[in-house]
Symmetry: D2
Amino acid sequence: MKKVASFKWPVRIYYEDTDSGGVVYYANYLKYMERARTEWLRNFDIDQPYLQEKHGVVFAVRSVALEYLKPARFNDLLQVTVILKRCGKASMEFEQNISRVIKPAKYSLELNDNGELLCEGRIKIACVDAVTFKPRSIPQSVLGEIADEC
Amino acid sequence: MKKVASFKWPVRIYYEDTDSGGVVYYANYLKYMERARTEWLRNFDIDQPYLQEKHGVVFAVRSVALEYLKPARFNDLLQVTVILKRCGKASMEFEQNISRVIKPAKYSLELNDNGELLCEGRIKIACVDAVTFKPRSIPQSVLGEIADEC
Amino acid sequence: MKKVASFKWPVRIYYEDTDSGGVVYYANYLKYMERARTEWLRNFDIDQPYLQEKHGVVFAVRSVALEYLKPARFNDLLQVTVILKRCGKASMEFEQNISRVIKPAKYSLELNDNGELLCEGRIKIACVDAVTFKPRSIPQSVLGEIADEC
Amino acid sequence: MKKVASFKWPVRIYYEDTDSGGVVYYANYLKYMERARTEWLRNFDIDQPYLQEKHGVVFAVRSVALEYLKPARFNDLLQVTVILKRCGKASMEFEQNISRVIKPAKYSLELNDNGELLCEGRIKIACVDAVTFKPRSIPQSVLGEIADEC
């Protein structure tokens, strides 16, 4: 019943991520948050292609709200958190932070607790029909897995 | 003194914009909104590379809030609006909508008034030092141009 | 029967296109070439979603070869050419160049002949089954339209 | 003096990587190859921001040639190889393959030898001045590190 500690996922910054301002292009933080949510689902053994094939549903982003505090740069190692704040019958709401790992281990993606907060996000996800994009209930198998999280 | 009508910019959707859900990848709407803001600035003769070179400042995104109402798809013609809602000494706040043009002229990017609203956004921009990313005043030449807008 | 002059499409460079080297990220030139090919098809009234729905085929990229001569930068206006070099039963081969427009009209995407060549590309496209991605014949309606081009 | 085995880097496929054809967007393979080259350099303790700051040089892509054999899809785990084929005073040439890992360990990026070849690439890199983008010699410290590779 105890809430699990927040899930974390590492993201390394490459040239593809940056823009000519010399920093990470702000729209890309949404990608990093989604990578982390995808891994969070995988962590619960939730297989999105299976959900689509078997239940005909996909998870669609309904709204995003991001605050940018400090810029990330080429070669930075970031860590992205995933916290499920609320979970309804057909929607989920996540709180996600991105911070820069200070003194990362050089050749690994290992995370540590020395972080500098760069970006805070709030993401609302809806379970929708894979074809019509109309709201659908989250499959019971998924709710069973993540119930303890909300 | 009269407020100018809202600025509009066309965006055509290509494969690069879509994802395997069959619709436009949601992070990309931020790019379309920025394309429109860039053209809005150009429309006022505001030259961003000049501002960086001459004044050492760039415009950085401080926060974004987007609501996704309906998905766009491959080949759609979208129109993106730009309304400056608030303008401070060192920041600007924009309201931007994205709608799908219904029955676009086949070979042109001409916009019409038949739109279907897809996405609503609120974007806060800060004027910052191009090197340190610390807040800086918006150059007077820029404020002079956009003053009537806010 | 005369070969039509090469098709050209304008591309404006925004922050999303650049990287922290201060120039356009090289992978993005592939996107600009595809935008131009998509408009080239539209120019012949060839509707890709219709081809997929009616004939069950899509055009897939089989190979690309690009030479990068000079970098493009933020705010540049580029022009992308499309020349169909070869056209088989199930494939097409394109030659595409990207050049920077010198002294573009400030507020328009109008192209002129003053260009500086930035990138040369050769792109092979296959007509494939939309589900299995196995080779399929190019629909006759398409071949009829583009026959004069090769 | 013995040639080291080829360097490999894992890449997980997310929605951001795919297009509405249901497969990975072909331009993105260039990003995966660059991620692997960046990690290959890191593996030799070669620090690109340091090279730029200390020597004023960056590595720029001069040409790419890619063959696409089979498509990758959402959730696939890919492995990208890096082989330095040739190394001159001011340039390097890489051979890079991308394959899909068959039966990957579910929650890790661990690679195995069961691969299905998806894409073959040849990438030429030039060492250039970070400002003018004119050719420059590769710094001796870099050549010393990678000499055994070519």
